[in-house]
């Protein structure tokens, strides 16, 4: 009970947007209809008097046609699917002799208290990132060798270097805690064979917390 309360309080403090929770749609399909992007002149960040704003691509113009993520979640774009489906083709390198490596290896992390196990997919990450971006500066290359925890992540360490900043937000608990603890028969750490494949975000069914 204490843990649950603590968890809820943390989420509440971190997410002023919870105040709008009652207005959230009940399914992810409905949610996509509500997607919208603030123009530069109304985002509270850009100077509306800057004459060069008209020369910049607006977020809505750039991202409205990309594979969808839930309204108000990050950029509201399923970036992994956008890349996999070839909707975007971002360059992998500037220098011609840069070695590009994509690693298909899932890691199961079991130190997740009452939450589901974390299944970390190297593939989705290395399609975007270079191994050295995380190893060994942020994560040691050893399953179980990193004291990852949600407090540190919420403070921008470990996964929080990107998630909560540029990759999907930390409100999406189940995207990482995706492996039901009950009934998991395999071993923890590095998994054999190809990594798990996922449906596009909007086709995934919302899952309950108590798994």
């Amino acid at each position: 009970m204490k843990k649950k309360t603590c968890c809820l309080i943390t989420m509440f403090l971190c997410l002023p947007a919870l105040a709008w929770a009652s207005e959230l749609p009940t399914s992810q399909g409905d949610a996509s209809a509500l997607r919208s992007w603030k123009p530069f002149t109304a985002d509270g960040l850009h100077d509306p008097s800057n004459p060069a704003l008209v020369e910049l691509q607006q977020p809505g113009e750039a991202m409205a046609m990309f594979p969808k993520d839930v309204a108000n979640t990050g950029n509201q774009v399923d970036w992994v699917r956008a890349l996999e489906q070839g909707v975007i083709v971002p360059r992998t390198n500037i220098f011609p002799d840069t070695h590009i490596e994509v690693l298909d290896l899932d890691i199961i992390m079991d130190q997740t208290s009452q939450m589901g196990l974390v299944r970390f997919p190297h593939k989705a990450h290395t399609q975007w990132l270079e191994c050295s971006n995380c190893h060994d500066k942020i994560f040691k290359k050893k399953a179980g060798g990193n004291p990852v925890n949600m407090f540190a992540i919420l403070m921008g360490e470990y996964c929080g270097r990107c998630h909560g900043a540029v990759a999907f937000p930390l409100t999406e608990c189940r995207r990482c805690h995706s492996e039901p603890r009950r009934g998991f028969a395999g071993s923890y750490g590095a998994q054999e064979g190809a990594g798990k494949t996922y449906k596009p975000v909007m086709d995934q069914k919302p899952v309950g917390i108590n798994q």
């Binding site: 997410l15 985002d43 309204a71 971006n133 900043a165 937000p169």
Partner: protein, 119 residues
């Protein structure tokens, strides 16, 4: 009661930046320019993270890179691409120096930009 919470938690003029907008203001305003707004979302459409964060050497933390116009013009940091060859050159000051006065160096993510999706 919920309205009370909203009043307490939200600033008077909320920033609704796009998720991943990075404000850089270490040197800009001190030198009479608007703060820089770097749109991470715009750049990832065109380049994978590894290009800037591995090949070009940008640390993955807002404000951790000592970027100056002198370095950019010499071809470092943004100047690796913004040189008139890969992307437009550094003479278009206002495209980057586009922020409101007084913005602090930081990345706009999480609850500042969006609400929860599916928990």
């Amino acid at each position: 009661m919920p309205f009370l919470f909203v009043g307490v938690l939200l600033p008077a003029t909320p920033v609704q930046a796009e998720y991943g907008d990075v404000v850089l203001n270490r040197y800009a305003e001190k030198n009479g320019m608007r703060p820089v707004i770097y749109s991470h979302w715009f750049h990832r459409i065109r380049f994978r993270c590894k290009v800037c964060h591995s090949e070009l050497g940008f640390e993955m933390r807002a404000g951790a890179n000592d970027i100056s116009m002198a370095k950019i013009i010499e071809g470092e940091y943004c100047g690796m691409c913004h040189n008139g060859e890969v992307a437009w050159s550094a003479e278009h000051c206002d495209r980057c120096h586009s922020g409101l006065p007084g913005l602090q160096t930081k990345i706009h993510g999480g609850g500042e930009t969006s609400g929860p999706g599916v928990w």
